[in-house]
C-alpha cells in the first residue's frame, strides 16, 4: 500500500486540489484588482446567465466539437480503409498522415492562417479571392476542418488497429457464403469496428470541446466572434483580470463536458454489445 502514496499525492496535488479550487473560486470575487477574495454566492453564475455571451460561446463550442468529431472520423476512417494493406507505399503514406498529429497545434494554425488569407496560396491556387477565415457563417467549418486535419492521423491509426484485429476467418466465411466485398465490408467489418468508433468519437468530441490552440492561431475567435469557443472566451475574461468569472466559466465547461461524456459514451458502448 505504501508504494501507492507518492502517486496519490501527485494526483491529489495536481488534480483534485485544482479541481476543488475550480469549484471554490467560482463562488468568489477573485480578481487582479484587489488583494482580498470574498465569497459572493451565485453572483458570477447569475451574471453570466444574464449575459448572452456565455450561451453563444457554449453553442459555438458544441457546434465546433460536433463538426470536428464528424470530420476527424470521416477522414480517419477513409484513410484507414485506403491504407489498410501493408504495402511499402501505404506504410510511407501512413507516416506522412501521422505527422500533423505530432506537430504543434499553434504551428498548424499559423500555417493555415497564412495559406487561407485573402489572395494567399489557396486563393491563388484556385484563382479566386475569398477570405476563408473572415466569413461569419462558414469560417467555423473551415477551422473545424483544420482541427480535424491535424488529428485525423490519430483516428486513422486507431481505425487501422481496429481493422487489423478483425479475424480473417469471419470475412472468409462471409465470402464462402457468397457475400460481395461491398456487403461484407459494411455488414461485417464496419460493425466490428465499434470499439474504435467509441474511442475515436468520444476523444474527438470531448477533446475538441476543450479546444483552444488551433482556433486561437487561425482566427482568435473572429470574425465577429463566430468562432469564439468557450476556452477563448475564458482566456479573454481571465486576461481582463476577472479570475473568478473565468473560473466560473471553466466550471461550466467542465460540467458540460461531463454531462455530454456520459450519454455519448453510454450510447457508443451500447453499440459494442453485439460483439
Amino acid at each position: 500500500m505504501w508504494f501507492l502514496l507518492p502517486a496519490y499525492a501527485v494526483l491529489l496535488l495536481f488534480f483534485f486540489v485544482p479541481t476543488a479550487f475550480n469549484f471554490i473560486y467560482a463562488f468568489t470575487d477573485w480578481s487582479s484588482f484587489k488583494a482580498a477574495i470574498n465569497p459572493v454566492g451565485l453572483d458570477n453564475f447569475t451574471q453570466l446567465a444574464s449575459d448572452g455571451t456565455l450561451f453563444r460561446a457554449l453553442r459555438i463550442t458544441v457546434l465546433y466539437a460536433v463538426l470536428v468529431a464528424i470530420f476527424q472520423n470521416l477522414f480517419g476512417f477513409g484513410l484507414a480503409v485506403l491504407l489498410e494493406r501493408d504495402t511499402v507505399v501505404n506504410r510511407i503514406a501512413r507516416t506522412f498522415f501521422l505527422i500533423p498529429v505530432l506537430m504543434s497545434a499553434l504551428a498548424v494554425g499559423y500555417i493555415f492562417q497564412a495559406l487561407l488569407k485573402p489572395s494567399g496560396a489557396v486563393d491563388q491556387l484556385f484563382g479566386i479571392h475569398y477570405a476563408w477565415l473572415a466569413d461569419t457563417h462558414w469560417t467555423i467549418v473551415v477551422v473545424a476542418l483544420i482541427h480535424a486535419w491535424k488529428w485525423m492521423g490519430l483516428s486513422m491509426l486507431i481505425y487501422l488497429a481496429g481493422l487489423k484485429t478483425i479475424p480473417e476467418d469471419i470475412t472468409e466465411a462471409a465470402r464462402i457464403d457468397g457475400a460481395s466485398r461491398w456487403r461484407s465490408f459494411w455488414r461485417i467489418r464496419v460493425p466490428m469496428l465499434a470499439p474504435a468508433v467509441t474511442f475515436n468519437v468520444a476523444t474527438a468530441l470531448l477533446g475538441s470541446m476543450n479546444g483552444f490552440d488551433i482556433v486561437q492561431a487561425t482566427t482568435g475567435g473572429g470574425p465577429a466572434r463566430t468562432t469564439e469557443i468557450l476556452n477563448i472566451f475564458i482566456y479573454r475574461t481571465f486576461g481582463q483580470g476577472l479570475f473568478a468569472q473565468a473560473t466560473t466559466m471553466s466550471l461550466v465547461l467542465f460540467l458540460l463536458v461531463a454531462l455530454m461524456a456520459f450519454p455519448v459514451i453510454y450510447v457508443l458502448r451500447k453499440r459494442e454489445a453485439i460483439l
Partner: protein, 436 residues
Amino acid sequence: MKRVISVAVAALLLTASAACSDPGSTTTTDNSATTWADPTAKLDGVKLTIWAAQNSNTVPQKVIDGFQKATGATVQVVTIPDPYEQGVQTKVATGDKPDLAFWQPTASMLTAINAKTNLQPLTGAPWLDKMDPKLKDLTGLLGDTRYAALITSPAVEGVYYNKQVFAANGITSTPKNFDDMVTLARQLKAKGVTPFYEMGADRWATQWWVQVQLADAAKAGLWDRINTGKEKFTDPTVLGAITRYQSLIKEGLFNSDIKTAKFEDQGAALLNGKTAMVVQVNSFFGQLQAKADTATLNQKIGFFPISPTGNIGTSIPDQSNALVAFKTGDAKREAAARQLLAYWMGPGYQDFITDRNTVSLETAVPNPSGVPQALLDVHAAVGSSVGSMQSLAVANPDLYINLADMIAGTMDPQQVAKATQDQFAQLAKAAGAAGF
C-alpha cells in the same frame, strides 16, 4: 494503516490549500516616506529583474549597461510573451513579481495590476522637476499617488497621412477639425483615392475612431461621469461617436477590404499611397519605421491630431512608455529598483534617448538629431492632449472587439454600446468602483 493514510492525505490537503490561498492578501501599509538613493551609489551583488514585452525588451539595454558599470549591480531583462499584460497579471496573481516592469501607466491598467498592493509609490522622484511641466503629471498616477515613471513620449491617437497623396490632390493644409477631415475625405473619394484605411481583422485600432471623436467630451469630464455611473456608453455622446464611425464606413470612405485588413496592410497602404489617412497611435509609426528610413518618412508621412472642435490629440501611453517598480518585500532590492529609475531618468537619460532615437521628456536634455518629423509632431500634440478611455476610465472594456464585430456586420451601434457598457460595469464592479 488506513488511518495513517487518511492523516497523510489530510495533511497534504491542508498544505496544498495553504499554498493555493491568495498570495496578494498580505497588504503592506506604506507609511514611511519614499527615499531615493544617489543614482550612481554602489550596489555590488544586487540583482534586479525587469519584465518587458517583445516590443520593449531592447528598450532598456543602453541604460542597463550604464547602470551596471556605474553601480556594480546586475540587471536582467526577462521577456514575457504576448499578450504581455495578461501574462504579467497572471504571474502577479500567483505571487511572481519582478523588481521593475514595463507597464501602461494609465489609471485603468494601474488598477488592473492592483497598484496599491503590488507597486511601490514613486512619491518625490528626483527626476520630476527636470521633466517638461506639461508632461509631469500627464499619467502614471492612480488617485494622488504616482506609481509609474514615464520614460518616453506617450502615444497619441491622431491621423497619420501621406503627404504626397495630399499634395497630388491639391490639398495644402491639414484639416482643422473632424468635420473638415470628413469633407476632405469626400473630396479625395471623388478623385478616386481611398480616404481612410482601417484594419477590421486585427481589430484593436477600431477604437481610435470613436475615441478621437470623444476628445472634447473627455475634456469636459465624460470619463468622470462614466466612472461614477452617471453616464453610460449607451447615452448619446458615446453612442453618437460609434454611429458616426459606422456611417462613415457605410458611406464608402474606407478601404473596401476593411473586414479582412490587418495592421501590416494598413502600414503598407499608407506608405505606398494606396490610402490618404490612417487614424492610429505611435506603434503604427514604429511599423512604418521598420519599413522605411527617416528621410523617406519625413518626405512621405505627416501627423495631425483631430477632435470634433479642433486639433486636440487623445493621449494613450502604452506599455513601452513607462515602468513600474514592484513591492517585492526585499527593502534592499526595492531601493535599488528606485535607484535604477533615478539613473534612467537622470545621468542615463541622454544616452537612452540617443540610443532609442526618440523625443526627450526633460527640458535640459536635447532631442537627438535623427528623430523623424512625424514623431516630433506627435510629441507636440501631447501637451495639449486629453486622456483616452484607457487613461481616464476606471476600467478598459473591449470596445475594439465590439466595433470590429460592427464592421463585420454582426452588431449595430446600439449593441456595441450596450455590450461595452455591460463589460465596463462588470470590470468597474470587480475594481470596487462606487456606483456599480
